[in-house]
């Protein structure tokens, strides 16, 4: 079932959690709401679920206005960040809850409930734990029980709030891949909230990047990563070097660095910022060919397949560079040495005029 959010705003006291957000989730897609804490992503998810009422705007399911519909009538599956399992019930009863609370007319018979719950527990591979209490399970197991419980009511939409937030790195990796595969199997429209850009890029069909209650960019993982729409997105998606300078007559100037910038062909000068990833900076000993600038090596740390360098530019700014290990071994730069850095790719954004 498709979801549409139209101009939704939600405030808590004087804090605007969600600020005029619109987005569409087509049927069967897995969408990530990505952003730092306080960016409004969880509030937006809760508004879609009906756990929170928006101050303004609409939530549409399958094109129909669901803004005033109660949470229990929306038929959404919600997986809470801290699982929110019923602690006094067994795993089996947790999963069966949504079926047992139905009205008598729509409640399946006991045998059907049993079959359904057993099937779901088998799917999340916890059938062997069905008589345990939540307190006897590990974090990853609880997460899967929460998922089975949400799926038991055959929701039309699955919403997950930081589904892997409180798990350790290894379990997280496994569950991530498992969720992606599960989604490919059942094709249920799903939205999940995360603050981990790697997670969003790996799992989601589409990513919605949020900041301070607003949507910064919506796009496929490739678009978000390769063509970030705003300075916030580029900085949030990973380590990046920032240069401050200006643009004029189709050129961008960042200290000694000059680049083409056809988006601003006007003679008036505008402040701008340039962003380049640590792995997009080539390190050379000579300035031959130009297009770069000099910096002094201050630090070098090997990290797996790459070596991380920290250099100091002429203006004292700290620069991060990642060099492939074989390249580093061929060059062998020394601490304190002056090196020529040539960016392969710089993203330029105009800054608001001061």
């Amino acid at each position: 079932m498709s979801i549409e959010v139209r101009n939704v705003t939600k405030t808590f006291g004087s804090f605007t959690a969600v600020n005029d957000v619109s987005l569409q989730v087509p049927d069967g897609e897995l969408v990530a709401l990505l952003g730092p804490s306080g960016s409004g992503k969880t509030s937006l998810l809760r508004i879609i679920a009906g756990l929170e009422r928006p101050d303004r705007g609409q939530v549409l399911f399958e094109g129909q206005d669901a803004t005033r519909r109660e949470a229990k009538e929306r038929r959404v599956g919600f997986v809470f960040q801290h699982y929110a399992l019923f602690r006094h019930m067994t795993v089996f009863e947790n999963v069966a809850f949504g079926l047992r609370v139905r009205r008598r007319e729509t409640r399946p018979p006991e045998a059907a409930i049993r079959e359904k719950v057993t099937g779901l527990l088998r799917m999340v591979q916890l059938d062997w734990l069905s008589d345990r209490r939540p307190s006897q399970l590990s974090g990853g197991q609880r997460q899967r029980v929460a998922l089975a419980r949400a799926l038991a009511v055959e929701p039309r939409v699955l919403l997950l709030d930081e589904p892997f937030g409180s798990l350790d790195a290894k379990v997280r990796q496994e569950l991530r891949r498992w969720l992606r595969r599960l989604h490919d199997e059942i094709r249920l429209t799903s939205v999940f909230v995360t603050h981990d850009q790697e997670e969003a890029l790996e799992v989601a069909d589409r990513v919605v990047v949020m900041n301070q209650g607003r949507v910064e960019q919506i796009g496929s993982p490739e678009e978000i990563f390769d063509r970030p729409a705003t300075p916030f997105v580029i900085q949030f998606m990973g380590n990046v070097n920032v240069f401050h300078g200006r643009v004029q007559d189709g050129k961008a100037h960042f200290g000694p660095l000059a680049l083409d910038y056809p988006d601003h062909p006007h003679p008036e000068e505008r402040p701008a910022a340039g962003f380049t990833r640590p792995y997009d900076l080539d390190v050379e000993r000579s300035a031959e060919g130009g297009g770069g600038f000099w910096a002094t090596l201050r630090h070098a740390t090997p990290a797996g397949a790459v070596v991380r360098l920290q250099l100091e530019g002429a203006d004292g700014a700290l620069l991060h560079v990642e060099m492939p290990r074989d390249r580093h071994e061929a060059l062998l730069p020394q601490l304190g040495e002056r090196l020529y850095l040539r960016p392969r790719q710089v993203r330029v954004f105009l800054e608001p005029s001061r």
């Binding site: 009906g50 229990k72 599956g77 919600f78 809850f97 609370v101």
Partner: protein, 292 residues
């Protein structure tokens, strides 16, 4: 790593001795005295004192009062703690303060308030008299005073339990399609049941043992408005020491039952609250399936 804190053996023994000595002096000795005095003239005299009509009437009134006050306070306690723990509303802190009011003021004052309200010279006195209703110096007054004095117990017990539990499970139930009533019976209540039971036990103990407030509103009419504690006082003032202690022993037994119930509840609470070790996970099957 810090060493677990330990004190010299002598200090530990001294502290334990002080604690146990204090307990013996102020709790065990009086309790033994009560039963010893009660049985001074033999079992038949003891039973006689208890079977005496006025004593039985006092026992009945005490049980009746508790039977009304405890359920009333359970309802109030559940409602108040739920409101305080789940919602932020104007007047929340005022409500929290008001819940503690009966703890803060002397029971005698509480009783006097009811006399001032419902007594013949009180605010509602003329209206009550005109409608031939009697509250003060009658059973309704005793029940009202008891409810007032005991209303913090259940609420105070439940508020921290409900606050610790948070809203998560209830929200999960909402999304799963449960109605408000179903959420209360299937999620909220089971989660707070031990806290609730503990509150009920304490509330009941106080309801049966309350003296001050009840004494003011009772009027001490034998066989009609005397509760057990009041009856004990009357017997004592009439120098019927053995009978007084015999009736007092009933209250002591109630207190002992309460204590046992309390320990059982605390023990159960610990047993269910304890986090059991997570099951070791077998090698995840989905990983095997992932390989082509």
């Amino acid at each position: 790593m810090a060493r677990p804190t330990t004190e010299p053996r002598a200090v530990r023994l001294l502290l334990i001795a002080i604690a146990l000595g204090f307990l013996a002096l102020f709790l065990v000795v009086p309790l033994v005295m009560v039963f010893q005095q009660a049985l001074e003239r033999g079992l038949s005299a003891y039973l006689g004192a208890i079977r005496e009509p006025d004593a039985l009437a006092a026992l009945r009134l005490t049980l009746l009062t508790a039977a009304i006050a405890v359920p009333a306070n359970v309802l109030f306690g559940l409602a108040a703690s739920w409101a305080v723990a789940r919602f932020d509303f104007p007047g929340r802190s005022v409500l929290l303060t008001l819940i503690d009011l009966p703890f803060a003021i002397s029971p005698v004052i509480s009783g006097l308030v009811f006399v001032l309200l419902f007594g013949r010279q009180g605010w509602l006195g003329p209206w009550l008299a005109a409608h031939d209703l009697k509250i003060v110096f009658a059973v309704p007054g005793i029940v009202l005073a008891t409810i007032f004095v005991t209303f913090p117990f259940v609420a105070r017990e439940l508020i921290p339990v409900m606050q610790a539990q948070g809203r998560d499970e209830e929200e999960a139930a909402v999304v799963l399609g449960a109605s408000g009533w179903q959420i209360f019976w299937r999620v909220t209540l089971p989660n707070v049941k031990w806290g609730l039971l503990y509150g009920v036990v304490l509330c009941n103990a106080r309801a049966m043992g309350e003296f001050g407030a009840v004494s003011v509103v009772s009027g001490h009419i034998r066989g009609l408005t005397n509760t057990l504690p009041l009856h004990v006082e009357i017997l004592y003032n009439e120098y019927q020491f053995q009978a007084a202690f015999a009736v007092a022993s009933l209250l002591a037994v109630l207190a002992l039952v309460t204590l046992v119930a309390r320990s059982v509840v605390e023990w159960r609470e610990r047993a269910t609250g304890r986090e059991a070790a997570p099951e070791p996970e077998p090698p995840p099957r989905w990983l095997e399936r992932a390989e082509p």
